[in-house]
């Protein structure tokens, strides 16, 4: 007995510290796990080595935000532009509004910019219910995985993202709104111990038409004799699309796929003549990506391979009846069918090494092969003027059917935690293409955490945008002519940020930026050949506040001032064209209770100067206010949302280039939207 008591005491003494060490180890593991989740969901956005804003579905749904485009208009420094195809694109910090690919859109990490325009307009209508979170990096920012973000990048995270303990509900959604808008869709996750499968699906259509005009013929684009044929009327801006997304994860393997069948009205016309109601443009997008991620000791290996298809598929009446081209008169107008299908193959391999204390070194490459795989070009008879389509695919194609480009990008990056307060990220990208190369592009950023309330960032980075297919390979066209001699557009950015955290969830962030843009690619209605014709220096300030007035509300507000100079070949400097100098956005959500809330968004966009030689008055300032009422039934787990957008019926116009639609591109006025969501 005596001995057993002593043995018991001895065991207690040796077991207590062991138990304690187990607990410490468990706490440490938990903290690492939460670090990982926080980094992945950008909870620790203020500590990231770039300027980032994160929009969460929870707030966006309460605000009645309908789709990705509406969400992006809330971001500091982001304005929206469009063109005659209604190819809408977010403009980051006054970037070139005619160069779509200056920002990249990623869906669950897959770049979805189409090759033809390098744009992603077809994804801007993605319903907000399919989106868990949107991470927007302004500036060249993150260049991981060989993806060049020039002015900004948008990472859309769907509900495929799933952490243990943070599982999302499955969801069913229906919407109805102005312009006979109808939408239905769902998100669904299947989980087993080692297998997770995620599916989302949506179908949506509307009958949107907006009064526009007079069209481009009024500016004498096709000769003074045809000015009289110019029309004003309803531009077909309707939408008809469906999408099916699939993400599968099994152990270290992942598979991502999406089919987007996007069809829209021909908007303002390929040749800037108002098209018919039924004329359409298809911008389908399909992608698959296979991934393998494995941690081996201090190495994290990530290998991806993907295949993407996209197309430009237009069928419309291009020019009106009675068009007189001198040698021929098109009594029944000019019709056209243009089709160009592109394929992108890519493979990337990256290794992250964490074996050196406080360092995370990432090295890898991404190789891409881009190719046009099919092209047809049909037009009314150019000789006789007969409206019946003639196949000009081989004789006068609108596009180079052999267009192709290979790109390989290498990157080396080190994230170094100098001490508790200072982190450093530095690295270099090197890219070669089968046309003009961007070469070496360095990057360095410092994040200094004085304490948990005061954070400072300094960032220097260089990046580029390769010319789009449209800018390189279009031909035999009055509106745009490509050139394979184009240099990539280049940007060097200098950014400084200060973040003041007030509490866990309220902060004020201020950013100062200076961007030097070279080789900017432009064309015009009078000179349709794309050229590296401009340089721009842009500087500005962004202020962003998130917090509360009362305990039960949420306030978000941001203000951006930007200015700069635009210079062309001859060296003279002009005001930045088509850029608002003041942007102010914000939202307010008032939670009456856990079930009822009222939300409002406000957007102010100041006037825009015109391009050199454009004598039109400035594009007008506008302010829009949206409001939304949200009811959540916790018992049956459904939500009803009614929202009124642009409640003061403000006339919003996006700028048109000179000699096109002289009164710019009118946008939707006051509209309503009803949404029913059911969670399971």
């Amino acid at each position: 007995m005596k001995y057993s008591s002593k043995l018991f005491l001895f065991l207690c003494f040796i077991s207590l510290p062991l138990k304690a060490e187990d607990l410490v180890s468990s706490i440490f593991t938990d903290m690492k796990q939460f670090d990982k989740i926080a980094t992945q969901i950008k909870q620790n956005e203020h500590y990231q080595p770039y300027i980032i804003s994160v929009l969460h579905n929870k707030e966006l749904e309460k605000l009645g935000v309908s789709n990705l485009k509406e969400a992006l208009t809330l971001v500091p420094g982001v304005d929206m532009a469009t063109d005659n195809f209604n190819n809408q694109t977010p403009i980051f910090r006054g970037s070139n509004s005619f160069a779509y690919g200056q920002s990249k859109l990623l869906i669950d990490g897959v770049v979805v910019n189409n090759l033809f325009f390098d744009a992603y307009s077809e994804y801007l209508s993605m319903p907000i219910e399919m989106i868990k979170r949107i991470e927007i990096i302004r500036g060249p920012g993150s260049k991981v995985d060989g993806i060049n973000a020039y002015a900004g990048s948008i990472n859309v995270i769907t509900y495929a993202e799933d952490f243990k303990g943070f599982e999302s509900n499955d969801k069913l959604v229906f919407k109805y709104g102005s312009y006979d808008y109808r939408m239905g869709g769902f998100v669904k996750n299947f989980r087993t111990k080692e297998f997770t499968t995620y599916i989302d699906f949506y179908y949506q259509k509307d009958n949107k038409k907006i009064s526009s005009g007079p069209d481009g013929l009024s500016q004498g684009l096709l000769g003074a004799g045809n000015v009289g044929l110019s029309q004003s009327g309803k531009a077909p801006l309707w939408l008809d699309e469906y999408s099916l997304g699939l993400n599968v994860k099994y152990k270290d393997l992942s598979f991502k796929a999406r089919i987007l069948k996007h069809k829209q009205g021909s908007a303002y016309g390929i040749n800037l003549a108002l098209p018919q109601d039924s004329d359409r443009l298809k911008l389908p997008s399909y992608y698959t990506e296979l991934g393998y991620a494995k941690k081996i000791n201090n190495f994290n290996v990530e290998i991806k391979a993907g295949l993407q298809y996209g197309a430009f598929d237009s069928k419309s009446k291009l020019l009106p009846d009675g068009l007189d081209m001198g040698s021929v008169v098109f009594l029944d107008g000019v019709y056209g069918e243009h089709y160009a299908k592109q394929r992108v193959l890519y493979q990337s391999s990256y290794v992250n090494y964490s074996g050196i204390e406080n360092h995370q070194i990432t090295l890898g490459y991404r190789a891409t092969q881009e190719k046009t795989v099919a092209m047809t070009s049909k037009l009314s008879n150019r000789v006789t003027g007969d409206a019946t389509l003639v196949d000009y695919t081989d004789t006068l194609p609108f596009f180079d059917k052999d267009a192709h480009r290979n790109v390989v990008a290498f990157s080396l990056q080190d994230a170094y935690d100098v001490n508790d307060k200072l982190s450093l990220l530095y690295g270099v990208n090197y890219e070669r293409t089968s046309y003009k190369d961007a070469g070496f592009e360095p990057r360095i950023s410092f994040v200094y955490r004085k304490d948990f309330k005061n954070i400072f960032k300094v960032i220097y980075s260089c990046s580029h945008r390769n010319p789009s297919w449209q800018e390189m390979f279009t031909k035999n066209n009055r509106a745009r002519v490509g050139s394979t001699n184009l240099e990539p557009e280049k940007v060097t950015s200098y950014e400084f940020a200060y973040i003041r955290n007030f509490t866990n969830d309220s902060y004020l962030q201020s950013n100062i930026f200076y961007l030097v843009n070279k080789n900017q690619i432009y064309n015009s209605a009078t000179d349709p050949i794309y050229r590296n014709s401009a340089k721009t220096d842009i500087y500005g300030v962004e202020l962003e506040y998130k917090g509360h007035i009362f305990a039960n509300d949420q306030v978000y507000a941001n203000y951006t001032y930007l200015d700069g100079r635009h210079s062309e070949d001859e060296g003279k400097k002009y005001n930045l064209p088509n850029v608002s100098h003041h942007l102010a956005k914000g939202y307010y959500i008032y939670n009456f209770s856990g079930t009822l809330s009222l939300g409002s968004t406000l957007k102010y966009v100041s006037s825009k100067d015109r391009a050199k030689g454009d004598t039109r008055s400035k594009v007008k300032t506008y302010t829009t206010v949206d409001t939304s009422f949200n009811y959540k039934n916790r018992h049956y787990n459904y939500t009803l949302n009614a929202s009124l957008k642009n409640i003061f019926d403000t006339d919003v116009r996006y700028p048109s280039p000179q000699n096109t639609y002289v009164d710019d591109y009118a946008q939707a006025r006051r509209t309503f939207l009803l949404t029913l969501r059911k969670s399971f």
């Binding site: 410490v24 938990d30 903290m31 939460f34 943070f166 948990f452 009362f550 305990a551 039960n552």
Partner: protein, 182 residues
């Protein structure tokens, strides 16, 4: 008019809850009970051989307190290590030195309520955890926030307090903070 406005603000604060970050709540629910077990004197704080983990909440935050209870139960399933536990939800208005508690987790509330909770925890010689790191300045012991990484903040005032005596292995994991830096 000013009175009406101020009353409205007060009334609204009473009716509706504070804002909470879900990830922070989950991290705290997962980590705080484990830290409590690193108290060398945890045995002395058992009540009927159980740990009573008391959550002090503002009336408006009852739902949040319930969520925290759910999180903890889903993680620990009835036992903090070898100790059975009971979650005790207590409205600040009912919190007193007589409230049973082996540890106190304090959600957001007015400064007076936070100070009251800190005083009670100190008198009882138990560890107090705070949702909001700013409340350490009012006398609570530990908090957790998510900065670049997950950080545990320890109120330096409690480093040498008789009844709260953590094992040494905890201290390399925390950042010490005093009320002047909050």
């Amino acid at each position: 008019m000013l009175r009406v406005f101020l009353f409205s603000i007060l009334f609204i604060q009473l009716l509706f809850g504070y804002n909470y970050d879900n990830l922070v709540l989950k991290a705290q629910s997962s980590i705080f009970p484990k830290i409590m077990l690193l108290d060398k004197k945890v045995q002395n704080k058992l009540i009927d051989n159980k740990i009573i983990y008391t959550i002090a909440y503002d009336t408006s935050d009852y739902q949040t307190a319930l969520h925290v209870e759910e999180y903890i139960n889903s993680i620990f399933k009835g036992h903090f290590d070898r100790y059975p536990y009971k979650i005790n939800l207590v409205d600040f208005s009912h919190l007193s030195p007589n409230t049973e508690a082996s540890a106190l987790y304090v959600l957001q509330s007015s400064t007076d309520n936070i100070k009251k909770a800190a005083d009670i925890a100190f008198q009882k010689g138990i560890v107090s955890f705070s949702y909001d790191v700013n409340n350490l300045k009012d006398g609570l012991v530990l908090s957790l926030i998510i900065e670049k990484s997950t950080i545990l903040y320890f109120n330096i005032k409690y480093l040498h307090v008789k009844n709260i005596d953590f094992i040494d292995s905890l201290f390399p994991m925390v950042k010490f903070i005093d009320k002047n830096s909050l």
